[in-house]
Symmetry: C2
């Protein structure tokens, strides 16, 4: 396989700067939707490396972030993978084949547990969502 | 050569979290001493990866940082290389052989320029130090 960047480089970068997050949204006051997001946020001047990381992993969109309420903050850019299909078929296989080495591997393990629940449709309904919140809290 | 971590992993990690700094100290109000420091600072819970990075590069000491004035901040740990010999013989050769890929490569290029001046003893005296301050400012 021909990668834009060495996969180990991407693993090192993500161990430092990446984020595997489990979000639970509320709808009309009820816990309703579980989403997985993989993201890396950097200063905008480093956008090129995000493009190369997206190419290497094989997915992800890049967004520009401007903080209107914080005019002194530099504009940022964010590589974000929010599609469950991409997370399931690209992100998780990539970091399973090339494992994280720092404490972020624990965050990734929780992320994978929740991905499995979503695949098995065990992410809907109050009890399932409470279980996911429990996983998210574990160290 | 047998590395603790894949060198490309270290490059990715450092592109995100590392810092190649050029410091100029004042003594009795005069610019007097130029120092190069390579460092990575993380939360203390990630100390193990710093130890592995130090082993891979072949130098560096790890320090614990406690922010007494900021009791809510988590304790941090820092891998620091401040010895010019280690910078010259370990850090610079490592990142020359395994090049940085993100914008940190510009910071590293300035760091290397100053290292050359130090080797040639062109880092002492007001004019030389002003030249180093000029290099430090360049983008």
């Amino acid at each position: 396989m021909n990668f834009t960047l060495d996969p180990n480089y991407v693993v090192g970068f993500v161990d430092g700067e990446g984020c595997f997050s489990i979000t639970v949204n509320k709808h009309h006051g009820r816990l309703s939707e579980v989403r997985l997001i993989f993201a890396i946020e950097l200063e905008e001047s480093d956008e090129e490396i995000l493009e190369k990381i997206a190419e290497t992993i094989g997915c992800g969109k890049i967004y520009r972030l401007v903080y209107k309420n914080h005019p002194k903050w530099k504009p940022h850019c964010k590589l974000k993978v929010g599609s469950f299909k991409d997370i399931d078929e690209k992100v998780i296989p990539f970091f399973t084949r090339y494992p994280l080495q720092a404490k972020k591997k624990l965050q990734f393990a929780r992320f994978c547990r929740v991905a499995r629940l979503i695949k098995e449709k065990k992410h809907l309904g109050g009890d399932n969502i409470k279980e996911i919140l429990r996983i998210r809290k574990t160290e």
